[in-house]
Symmetry: C2
Subunit: 163 residues, 2 copies
DNA sequence: AACAATAATGATAATGATTATCATTACCAA
DNA sequence: TTGGTAATGATAATCATTATCATTATTGTT
């Protein structure tokens, strides 16, 4: 079995038909901009900003506007298809939720030098156990319904250390 | 012993003289805007934005400008005196590092409804053990010098759940 | 097939937080 | 005191994001 690097090594990525269904069952249309944006997000392991997504969309579909990209990223976010992050550079970055070993896996290692972002999934079991525990205690103590969490490590990558 | 709520219940908060020394030893001046900004940060447990800090500064010192607030927050950040966070509302929020049980304690519980932020320090020992472990493994695996980390939980507080 | 009704788009302008510019002021050291 | 530099504050500029609104595309209905 050959696993394409371009698809993040994950098989079974939803094909357009499946996405279409997600939209249709909510009474929404699966338009070309939406298909193309999902295509861009599905073909990278990077964490792209709206602008960067727009630039990639633009190459093949210069008619699709930046506004539409922003609007649909918001739509996709509400649909639970993408997640929005903030890594400390001045913009939001988007990630397709699908393709992770675990859903709600929002753990990143960020280089404060070159802004490179690495997804990691080491210690998942331990981490999940730990998170669950804290979550439970915090939600009880503060009467919160916890829905999500973010763990990020910041540092300097090899190159930026040297430089 | 009476512990003022206003000072976050922490004794031994640096007084102006101590701050002054921090600046002086770096060949910097301990100016009035700097003193006032530190005063504002020292007198709250909230996570204020630059604008909010400016507004509090303004009350007693209307001559101090917003630009100066931004500039000095950046200065304080570089000096390791304050930390900047992003909680998902459109601005950065600042926190005096001093006054936490442990340094580099950046763990928050954020209500996505009312934007209220709760600092927590439960499970500190476990958390530190866990973080250390991940940090070590990640820095080895990816050749990163990890300098910092952030853990944030998102959810709805009691009031926002009800509403 | 023609037709409303409404979803979605794209161009443009507006917003809001943050940063750059620059002339002025305050402080320190000789 | 005086020259040099740090710091300030007013203003304008920037950049990501959002709001507005007229236009286009799609769908369900006759």
């Amino acid at each position: 079995m050959i696993v394409s690097k371009k698809t993040n090594g994950v098989m079974g990525r939803k094909n357009p038909k499946k996405w279409e269904h997600r939209f249709r069952e909510m009474g929404m249309r699966f338009t070309e901009p939406r298909r193309v944006i999902l295509e861009v997000l599905g073909n990278t392991v990077e964490h792209l900003s709206a602008e960067e997504i727009y630039m990639r969309v633009y190459k093949k579909h210069p008619n699709i506007g930046l506004t539409t990209v922003y609007r649909n990223l918001y739509t996709l976010e509400r649909m639970g298809i993408v997640t929005k992050f903030h890594f400390g550079d001045g913009c939001h970055r988007y990630e397709l939720i699908e393709g992770h070993k675990k859903p709600d896996h929002h753990h990143h290692l960020v280089c404060t030098g070159c802004k490179r972002i690495i997804d990691y999934d080491d210690f998942m079991d331990e981490e999940i156990a730990y998170i669950k525990k804290v979550e439970k205690a915090l939600s009880r103590k503060h009467s919160f319904d916890i829905t999500d969490h973010v763990i990020q490590f910041y540092g300097l990558c090899k190159k930026c250390k040297a430089a």
